[in-house]
Symmetry: D3
Subunit: 252 residues, 6 copies
């Protein structure tokens, strides 16, 4: 009945499959899941630099979906930006009238409903400050801290997965003890498959951004909510784009 | 498969039916809706005084549902407090492990995802300051204003409904023009049936808290999220309660 | 000449006597003290759940005092809500034109006048987050931390009083050392009788909320200050209340 | 029994007498009032420049009182800085162990207890921003606006008093209507004698800083509260002072 | 002696020349100015969508400058991102150890030093909310408002320049009157040549971001300040980039 | 071509020479440096009490410079208040139309441009809270902590300089490790000559307020920026001053 597009802005096919599978597992029977990643950009997103490139990749996928023939018969009802840095979410909201949700925003909303204080645990220290900016932008600064486990993002996918898990769990335990966190938010899309195990082992809610965002956007799509075009998310004013970005030019 | 309880904390049967109907309309086929209100308390909730009594009524309904025999076979998966003042939500989160959501919290979350700035329009001036406290508590103070339409809450149900609608719409238009709001949040559960009309007439997203909260709690219930018992929402410490409240005493 | 009502919202007669005695000790000769507690509700107030019930009990006492014959000849000049959670203070301000003050609000005001940074030490961890919300509401978040001593509220009254005192003092010392607190605020009405000893042993100001609130409300009463009825604390709009709350209905 | 010193930091003898008279009128019978102003400095305090000089004058008065022979038998129990800019209050708190209170701080505390939103009306536009800094420092920024009546401070004392009053009242009415203020705070010590009239004419609480500060400091003095010497208000470290300030040098 | 690179992230050659000329006019004799724009991207930057593409263009210019042979003999001492949206500044700080400054950040710093309250006037309404996020990020939310003149960014360069100027001036006058602004900040790089005229006509400081950023970065370069590599601005972790972005991959 | 006045508000000639030398070292060839201190006041500035006196001394130097004959031919283009407490900066901005900058303000601006999080290390604990107020006033509270090294300010000048340096460095290292600071801000004018050494030993940016303020004010002076006289920094209204301050009276 409705299609939800889950876009991994990096080029790790493993990530894309993992988040797509998780999305499929949790949506209603009649909701279709499209899991995609861009054709260009970085293999993972760790900090401000990677974000700049991943944002453009994200926009390319949305642009192509909006122009695809299926839009006429079964338009995409909502987009999930499957990256915890919420890379390019604001720009994406300008490009489509369908609602757009990042993992961090959705995860913070659900965390705030089940805990009065919580912690984001993210892989790399370089992401701490960007995530703190998101926490502040989403109004959760007085109840959420951001900590790094000290492992690489892609380590959650391969041979180092066990080591990565242990580092994550150890940091989460410190948050419960020292930061008085009452719940843990997983600060990376690639952790979506370890939420259940961590929840079982810690005994507190563990919020996975992929699940949170997919269900929130599914809910918003079913309610028929669309992005407002009356202000900051208005259709971009028409103008020329040049070079490798020429075909991204907004029409007047 | 799962039951969602939508509790109207005031005693207006009209409100209870209206929010129950709206909830039923928007949930998935397998989700059951229980729409209830307490047996004691005020007919409507307008300001701090009414809230104090409605909170206890709300807790009485949750207590009874948690103790009912159906809990053993088909436990309530989540509670919606169907009042825009989020009356008693924090206390309710102590009383059950199922997730609990108020209308204001859910509506602000969805509004923030489709608009960078928005306005709550509520019936009575006496509710403005309590709602501003909620907006601040939920971290939306930099993007959300609260305005009153100057009508009574119950006017949205009876002979004055047309006048109430006009006052609401006029105030919403002022918010779009003067406050640069990009979306309107309906600041009362009793407005749930006019969201579509207002959206059509204003051309911007109109967020109804009943719909927002029911879908968010349904999403959280399907994800298996439970309220953290590690901090502020822990099970209340055992102690004696007396007089008319004797049977609300938390067990040790 | 003027009567100050000190209302303990819980049902511990020991607490009520203790706060009443302390109030009597510090007011001017011509100020009369009425120390009361409700006839229904919890034995102590620890967290959001207890607060919901204690608020109604508080309102019942105020309602009865306002309706008593003495009001005609010697009206109550101010109310102290003798609970550090400031339970029901906003609702109480709607119910009477006399000024109403909670312990937390008054204690923070005096603490801020004698110290640039201070700490609230409260008995139970479950109260930390509710108190942090109060600290934020009263605008003191940048200068006040909240810590728990890890003892039950009622322990300050009975056989465990010595153990409770030691736990409190130990936590206060940690606040001086680690949080750079320059003064200690006692986070529970039941600690009113240990302020002097703790002050003597720590060498920094120790602010007792009972004393602070009684003196502030006495000062406001003598100045003739009344609660504004122009906004959030307006007289509740008239409506029907039902069941066990029927006789709390505001008159039109 | 106890002496309260009310220090007008400017050199207007009319102001000093006015605030002293008001203080005497409202304190308990056994409280003595000393009303003083410095021997040097400006005739009125309007903005940052005047404040710098008035602060030193204020400190000179406190220093002399602390060194006076009466201190041995009947020490000053508290100081009121009778200027709405709270000029020199922080420095004064370093100079004495008695509590020190400015008009703005005390008035905001009482205003917040009787109104959820309020406005300061001050004489000159040049004071608006300094007062906004105080409002922010005292944590009231979300509930208090500052407006100027557009008259000179000294106009409240002489032939222009009627014109000044009318300008003040007009501005206060605008605050009630446009800023949703529920109470008015008088933003100048020189307005202390018009609070009752304005209250009668506006029908909302009018808070006079002189009265608020005198009663708060009297309350704190009676409770035996002293300024903490553990941090920012510690006794100044000993060092040499030179020139006209030589005799202000703190002793080691 | 030192080279400052002023990078216009859009492709308007007129803008690039204008900001380069202004930069040359105000730097010290021994400071060299390199004014460049990317080879791909939008003609102007108005809102979140344009920003996403302009960020990548900006990074391409910095990458090329850092890899150029002149770096060995005369390294770039600092970068100015000549766009008022501070597009890509955080990512740029990861890419180089030279200091990087956006127009908005620099302009707010100088405005705060000459005025206690000020206003940004930007061309298009779509930029208001992104700029408000910057104002908040830079900590100026309590003293700075953002307003739109309602003209297109490129109108400041061509036949419509007079109309654009008038709209800007009219909006600036409203800010002085209604928002109590004491200075005006020009919210677009393309306005750099009208600062003097506007200052002369308004009689208050007018801060041009190009001038502010060039002088601040020149000052920082002369002091030898470099971007910290200890946290959020660390060198990006090595990884693969693909497709059109392949040659942006950070080396391990 | 232009003269910059660097005013040390305390009476330590060693400090004055040190900051003057540093200023001379970093300005452009055509910029003249005047390094002065007042004829009266404290030997160093540690906390609120010293600040009150140093502010007046500062104003005396500015007044004399503005009245000097050189003003007619070569007016002072900007003032640096060479104290990290930014003593008297707001009052000074009222006294002159030339821009005025304190060390703390300038250092925070440059620190925020090279690090996302940083720490001020100041000599004495008594300065921590006043500096925290400045950090908050300048909008950097979410990214800057203040710590004390536990040494006297004047120790950086004499026989104890090595001990003072070691204490400073040790505290800075704690900030890097425990507070995640990415850069260190030197919290005292007297540390200006150790910035290079500390930077070399710590490997992160070390910001010296003297250098930052001198270069910022030089930049602002070259751009012709003047303090706005439209609001809080307007010329003080004319009035009488008396006693030792008689010759500071603002003219009507």
């Amino acid at each position: 009945m409705s299609r939800i597009a889950v876009i991994n802005p990096n080029l790790s096919a493993g990530f894309t499959k993992k988040v797509g599978d998780q999305a499929q597992r949790i949506v209603a029977a009649q909701t279709g899941i499209i899991a995609l990643n861009p054709q260009f950009g970085p293999d993972s997103i760790e900090g401000y630099y990677d974000e700049a490139f991943a944002s453009v990749g994200l926009l390319s996928v949305i642009r192509d979906l909006e122009a695809a023939p299926e839009q006429l018969t079964d338009p995409v009802g909502g987009y999930v930006v499957a990256c915890f840095d919420d890379t390019g979410v604001d720009a994406a909201r300008c490009l489509t009238t369908a609602p757009v949700m990042g993992l961090c925003e959705a995860a913070l909303r659900m965390a705030a409903a089940v805990a009065s204080r919580f912690a984001i645990v993210t892989p790399m220290p370089v992401s701490v400050r960007p995530l703190e900016h998101l926490v502040s932008k989403y109004g959760a600064a007085s109840q959420c801290v951001v900590r790094a486990a000290g492992v690489r993002t892609l380590d959650f996918e391969g041979a180092n997965a066990a080591v990565a898990y242990d580092a994550l769990k150890k940091q989460a335990e410190l948050c419960l003890r020292n930061d008085y966190a009452e719940a843990i938010v997983l600060g990376c899309a690639g952790m979506t498959d370890i939420a259940d195990r961590l929840h079982a082992e810690l005994g507190v809610p563990v919020i996975d951004g992929v699940s949170a965002a997919v269900k929130m956007i599914e809910a918003m799509a079913m309610l028929g909510l669309r992005t407002s075009k009356a202000g900051a998310y208005a259709k971009p004013p028409g103008k020329s784009y040049h070079g490798i970005f020429a075909d991204f030019a907004p029409q007047p």
